[in-house]
């Protein structure tokens, strides 16, 4: 037991050390990482490998979505499979029935998932902790039941097949021409950008304040319920985006693609990577998605491993693998309407 703890701690310290030293070269690193991932398909990976990378990307997006709710706000959702399903089904139906372009379909799907997130978020204002988790779990199951029984729209248990691939100006993106991979990359960068934006914004700070101590946050004049619903909506929208992309990637979806297992897997990624971090989502998704592919003989053990991940992380490293407190100096944000900001601006102008 002690060995596990020290092992995990040493790993985290290593990463943390790396962060401190590498910070200076971050632009080079980001550019390098980006170009490396851009070049991935050119290295001549098979479609199988490309597919795994795409799945890692999708689960990173899902985890980033859940992270806003679980990582920043501290609300554990067990029903993100439901949002994932809503996004996927909406996109699929819009593309098939109304011959919409992928982008438009996904955008409508995101709006629709956001509305569902709002609807789920509103009644859960009265609930916290475990109760909230159970309601979200119920939500996930209800979505599945609606999909199974609402035959006229969702085609019931037969699922929806032949979902078209996304195409732009008559150019169809497939696995073979790596179009789907690049689309994933674009969406992932977009989602990451949004998440970084939220993290550094007023909203992100508020959400973290709510997680740390909701009572204190309310005493400081924060309308916590408003922000909690907001977190639900943003989280649902991001998950819906991943769902829409997933539908057009696999081109066949049914109610079994969105079980409780999916929700648990997303949660495992968030917890393994480190709640409330963005870097953690990438590492968590890469480990947990690639694990069953790398360890083929352990394929049937993978769900046991997900369970073990949850238990061991909770016991030895609740903040996750990459969840250290940053040693970099914290830049205190200056509010645009604050006195200091105005004074500084004034001083700058005068100085010039």
């Amino acid at each position: 037991m002690e060995k596990i703890r020290t092992g995990i701690n040493r790993l985290t310290e290593g990463f943390s050390y790396l962060e401190t030293n590498v910070y200076k070269y971050r632009i080079i690193l980001y550019a390098g990482g980006l170009s490396l991932s851009m070049l991935l398909p050119v290295f001549g990976f098979s479609q199988y490998m490309t597919r795994i990378f795409i799945m890692i990307g999708i689960y990173t997006m899902l985890a980033l979505g859940l992270n806003i709710l679980t990582g920043y706000t501290g609300l554990v959702s067990l029903g993100h499979g439901g949002f994932f399903a809503i996004g996927a089904y909406t996109t699929a139906i819009l593309m098939l029935r109304f011959q919409m372009n992928f982008l438009i379909a996904v955008m409508i799907a995101m709006v629709f998932t956001g509305i569902c997130g709002l609807l789920l978020g509103l009644p859960t204002l009265r609930l916290t902790g475990t109760y909230l988790s159970i309601v979200t779990l119920g939500f996930g199951e209800i979505v599945r039941m609606v999909i199974m029984n609402f035959d006229t729209v969702t085609n019931g248990t037969l699922g929806i097949r032949n979902i078209p691939r996304p195409s732009f100006f008559g150019f169809e993106l497939t696995l073979a021409n790596h179009g789907l991979f690049y689309l994933m990359l674009v969406l992932l960068i977009l989602v990451t950008y949004v998440c970084i934006g939220i993290q550094n914004s007023n909203m992100g700070r508020t959400l973290r304040a709510i997680k740390a101590d909701e009572l204190a946050a309310v005493m400081m004049g924060i309308r916590s319920s408003r922000y909690k619903v907001g977190a639900f909506v943003v989280s649902a929208v991001l998950t819906g985006l991943a769902g829409g992309y997933y539908a057009s990637l696999v081109s066949y979806i049914d109610h079994n693609s969105f079980t409780f297992d999916v929700s648990i897997m997303i949660l495992s990624i968030v917890i393994l990577g480190g709640m409330g971090t963005i870097r953690g989502m990438f590492l968590g998704a890469a480990i947990l998605v690639a694990f069953p592919e790398v360890a083929r003989p352990l394929m049937e053990w993978r769900f046991v491993v997900y369970g073990l991940v949850l238990i061991l992380m909770m016991r030895f490293k609740p903040q996750g693998l990459l969840g250290w407190r940053s040693r970099l100096p914290y830049k205190i944000p200056v509010l645009k309407r604050s006195q200091t900001y105005r004074e500084e601006k004034e001083a700058n102008r005068r100085g010039r």
């Binding site: 902790g129 029984n149 238990i311």
Partner: protein, 291 residues
């Protein structure tokens, strides 16, 4: 027809109440929704069928299986939850841990027994009794009677014995109970044992009623029982019984009125309505802190 469904619902609801008691007991003491309870329930039926395979005879097999499930409950507490308590981790850690446990148990069952649905042996020679024009099988009657007896024993255990007194003391204030010389860790382990036993008996009854078992059977039933516990007021023993009956009957009625595919969604809808309208449940004390 409606009478028939009500009778079906009553017998099934009593079994739900048995499982719901497990949630209630643990919640009362630890303020934790034991997510692994559904998996423990599934484990019970599988343990029994495992021992039946060794030809011990039916009754010893059931006894062994039930005791083993109780031991599993204690094991869960000692291995996973006790270290968290010692570390004083926030409640959400325990919740996620129990989710992980349920996942591990369920998937180990899948690997050990296969994920397909398997027949569960008939416990009794099934006869049909006609009451007021409704057909009731002996299995349903036995299910109802066994559950009532067990719930009565549990109530006596908690209200009338020394260990029950200790359990209630720990429920009210764990620290003070410890200062009064109560071995709180033993009491918590004992609570898990009781929860495991009642879940295992319920799983034998329900599997015997449907004559089927499979590793994921605990997921749905666990949620229904949780809905029952919340409806009655979680932490309240008689509330769990009323909640179980309501869930069982409304499930049967929904199946007749709206079609059998809506059978499973009723519990969720009841759960969500209760949580929004009256989170403390029917018999719950108001102002109980939601962790």
């Amino acid at each position: 027809m409606i009478l028939q469904q009500i009778f079906n619902g009553l017998s099934l609801g009593m079994a739900y109440a048995l499982i719901a008691v497990g949630y209630s007991l643990v919640f009362g003491i630890l303020r934790l929704v034991n997510f692994s309870h559904g998996a423990v329930y599934a484990f019970g039926a599988h343990a029994v069928i495992f021992f039946i395979g060794y030809h011990f005879g039916l009754i010893p097999a059931i006894l062994l299986g039930v005791l083993l499930t109780g031991a599993l409950g204690v094991l869960i507490d000692r291995v996973a939850l006790y270290p968290l308590r010692k570390k004083k981790s926030p409640g959400i850690s325990s919740l996620i841990t129990t989710i992980g446990i349920s996942y591990i148990i369920q998937n180990l069952l899948m690997m050990g027994f296969g994920s397909e649905k398997k027949p569960f042996p008939k416990l009794f020679d099934n006869r049909i009794v006609h009451i007021l024009g409704a057909r009731i099988s002996t299995m349903q009657i036995i299910m109802f009677v066994t559950s009532v007896i067990l719930l009565a024993i549990l109530t006596f255990l908690i209200k009338g014995t020394k260990i029950g007194l200790a359990m209630r003391a720990v429920e009210q204030n764990e620290k003070n109970a410890g200062l009064m010389g109560i071995n709180t860790n033993f009491i918590i382990a004992f609570t898990f044992f009781l929860g495991g036993i009642s879940a295992a008996i319920a799983s034998v009854l329900i599997s015997g009623y449907y004559e089927i078992l499979y590793p994921t059977m605990g997921f749905m039933v666990g949620l229904k029982a949780f809905a029952a516990a919340v409806l009655g007021g979680i932490g309240v023993l008689h509330g769990a019984i009323v909640g179980g009956l309501v869930i069982g009957v409304s499930e049967g009625l929904a199946a007749t009125w709206f079609g059998s595919q809506y059978r499973d969604s009723v519990a969720f809808i009841i759960l969500i309505i209760v949580l929004i309208v009256r989170p403390a449940g029917l018999f719950g004390r108001k102002g109980i802190e939601k962790v």
